[in-house]
């Protein structure tokens, strides 16, 4: 990222329900459970990550989006690997 891009990043109004495309790989925290299914909540968008391991919650992971419903702001994703931890 260039110096200028670092200053300009994030300027604008961001949606509370970001959309993803199937096949897209994203880095995100696994944030909790919906029933028994681990989920990654990004803003108010919810990705179900069925195969996330038991200790995945509150840690950052690389996820591959498998399907995404634009109307519902929900989708499913595959857990690829753990990439980071919570700040606390």
């Amino acid at each position: 990222m260039s110096l200028l891009e670092k200053y300009l990043a994030g300027i604008g109004f961001r949606t509370n329900t970001p959309a993803f495309e199937s096949g897209q790989e994203i880095s995100a925290f696994v944030t909790g459970y919906d029933g028994d299914t681990p989920i990654a909540r990004i803003g108010d968008t919810v990705l179900r990550v069925e195969d996330a391991p038991a200790d995945a919650v509150d840690a950052r992971a690389l996820l591959r989006v498998e399907s995404f419903d634009d109307a519902d702001h929900t989708g499913t994703a595959t857990y690829l690997e753990r990439t980071g931890e919570s700040a606390f």
Binding site: L3, K6, Y7, L8, A9, G10, P18, D58, A87, F88
Partner: protein
């Protein structure tokens, strides 16, 4: 680092340990998990009483409060108190505290070195050369104070320097005293928020797992919107509000002007540039210190002895024979002058009380985590208050602002609220930079508004010193600005808070973890 582990692994290990610690309630308390909040809760009460009610802005006093709070909390722990005591050790040895401490020590040395190099006198020269009128004076003062605060990273230091110099100078040219004091505080807010060497900036980045340079770059967009509006505010208010009636005239600023002091804009530039380029903050600030020290000596702004000086007792023969060295002098043996001095020494030493306080607060926070209190509060917030991303961000803004409005010493307030900002934000995948920005902007803003705020108190204390001083014989008690009057005029503070409230409600500047990754925390 002393151990052989690569720093990244050390961080990973520590974070994994923190996760394990959160997992189970390892300390049982009489009264349940809620009782584990006793050390932190007592400390907050102490801080409000000491600083809010008694108006004592003494960081070492807060250290005493936190120590007593840790002792009281122990009596509520069930079973062997050894676990409680060990948790204090575990809390204090966390990397999050160590990284902030290292950055503060470096920032302190840098700030004092450019101050020794007459940077303030450079700003004075600029104001004098522009020969600003009373109407324009508050607006220009805001800009210059913001510049100083961005360089030295301490809003308190800026407030002291400007209240002692620009305040009387502004009154003489017909500026309104209350507005002028508000403008000085606004400049301090700006720098506290934006400076890479500011203690609050460092805490915000470290606690949200983000690099300091990236944090500074990403917060520019909010700061500049608020600053432009504040500048316009001071222009408009300056032309409406009347100046004080002073039976004196003359140039206060002229005597203190030193154009060469502005060379330290280059020292500050070096730090900001290298930090934003992604260099470790220790490296970035070290380069700043080197440039500043060379400039000080080369341009005659400060001698080597102003930066580091051994004051040895004259009874030591070796010291006497070596006293030709530029960093060595002899003083009467047995006098209280014996010691080490200079900007490197005072800059680092100035942070000692805050460092001890930070270690104790993170220890108290660790007890709250192991006792289950942290989780209980977090669950309440996530289940009842922060139920969607807009509400989560609004909670983060209002939570940070209210804790800082209550506690005088804003760095302490920031450290106490930081874990909640991290966790609530992570649960919505809000980017680390965004979290750090919400945390720091509202910490900086609210630390300079209310009458019990640390920034307002140090400014008022300095102002009292002007009454009846030799230099400003005309400065009477009537010219003092009552701390309770200034709050509506800290425009940049209010606007920064407003910008973040609007940002939280509208999604302006919002970034998600999936949008981009903040650079690794090993960069501090």
């Amino acid at each position: 680092m002393v151990d052989d582990e690569p720093p990244d692994e050390a961080v990973e290990e520590e974070l994994a340990e923190a996760r394990r610690a959160r997992g189970g309630s390892r300390i049982e308390f009489y009264g349940g998990p809620a009782a584990s909040t006793i050390p932190i809760a007592l400390f907050i009460v102490w801080a409000i009483v000491q600083s809010g009610l008694f108006r004592i802005g003494d960081t070492t006093g807060l250290v005493a409060g936190m120590l007593l709070a840790l002792i009281v909390g122990m009596f509520f722990a069930k079973g062997d108190w050894k676990t409680y005591a060990n948790t204090i050790f575990d809390g204090m040895t966390q990397r999050v505290a160590a990284t902030a401490i290292v950055a503060w020590l470096w920032a302190g040395m840098f700030a004092d070195t450019i101050q020794a190099g007459q940077f303030v006198s450079g700003l004075v020269w600029a104001a004098d050369a522009l020969s600003v009128s009373g109407t324009l004076f508050p607006a220009i003062t805001f800009v210059l104070a913001a510049l100083l605060a961005t360089g030295i990273g301490t809003g308190y230091g800026t407030t002291i320097a400007f209240t002692g110099l620009f305040f009387p100078a502004g009154l003489l040219v017909g500026a309104n005293p209350v507005l002028l004091f508000g403008a000085i505080l606004s400049g301090a807010v700006f720098g506290d928020n934006l400076a890479p060497v500011s203690d609050t900036t460092i805490v915000s980045a470290v606690t949200q797992n983000s690099d300091i340079g990236g944090v500074v770059a990403s917060r520019f967009k909010y700061a500049i919107v608020a600053a432009v509006l504040a500048f316009v505010g001071y222009l408009v208010a300056g032309s409406v509000m009347p100046g004080a009636d002073i039976a004196a005239s003359g140039a206060v600023l002229g005597d203190e002007a030193e154009p060469l002091g502005l060379i330290h804009l280059a020292s500050i530039g070096v730090v900001i540039f290298t930090a934003v380029r992604g260099r470790h903050i220790v490296e970035a600030v070290s380069w700043g210190i080197i440039v500043a020290a060379i400039a000080n000596v080369a341009f005659g702004l400060a001698a080597v002895s102003d930066m580091i000086l051994f004051r040895a007792p004259d009874s030591v023969a070796l010291a006497d024979s070596l006293s030709w060295l530029p960093f060595l002098t002899t003083v009467p043996a047995g006098s209280d002058q014996v010691g080490v001095a200079g900007s490197i020494y005072t800059g680092a030493a100035g942070f000692f009380p805050l460092i001890v306080l930070t270690l104790l607060i993170v220890a108290g926070a660790r007890i709250m985590i192991r006792g289950g209190g942290f989780e209980a509060i977090q669950d309440f917030l996530l289940e009842r208050v922060a139920t969607n991303v807009r509400r989560a961000e609004t909670t983060m803004v209002l939570g940070t602002a209210s804790v800082n409005a209550m506690i005088t010493i804003n760095t302490a307030a920031e450290i106490a609220i930081a874990p909640y900002i991290a966790r609530i934000g992570e649960r919505f995948n809000i980017n680390g930079y965004r979290r750090a920005n919400i945390l720091d902007a509202n910490t900086s803003a609210l630390g300079y508004i209310f009458p019990w705020a640390g920034g307002v108190l140090v400014g008022y204390t300095e102002m009292q010193g002007l009454v009846g001083s030799e230099e400003f014989g005309w400065f009477t008690r009537e010219l003092l600005v009552n701390p309770a009057e200034v709050w509506p005029f800290v425009f940049h503070g209010w606007l920064l808070f407003g910008v973040f409230l609007v940002s939280a409600l509208t999604g302006f500047g919002l970034e998600y973890v999936s949008d981009r990754e903040s650079e690794e925390v090993a960069r501090v």
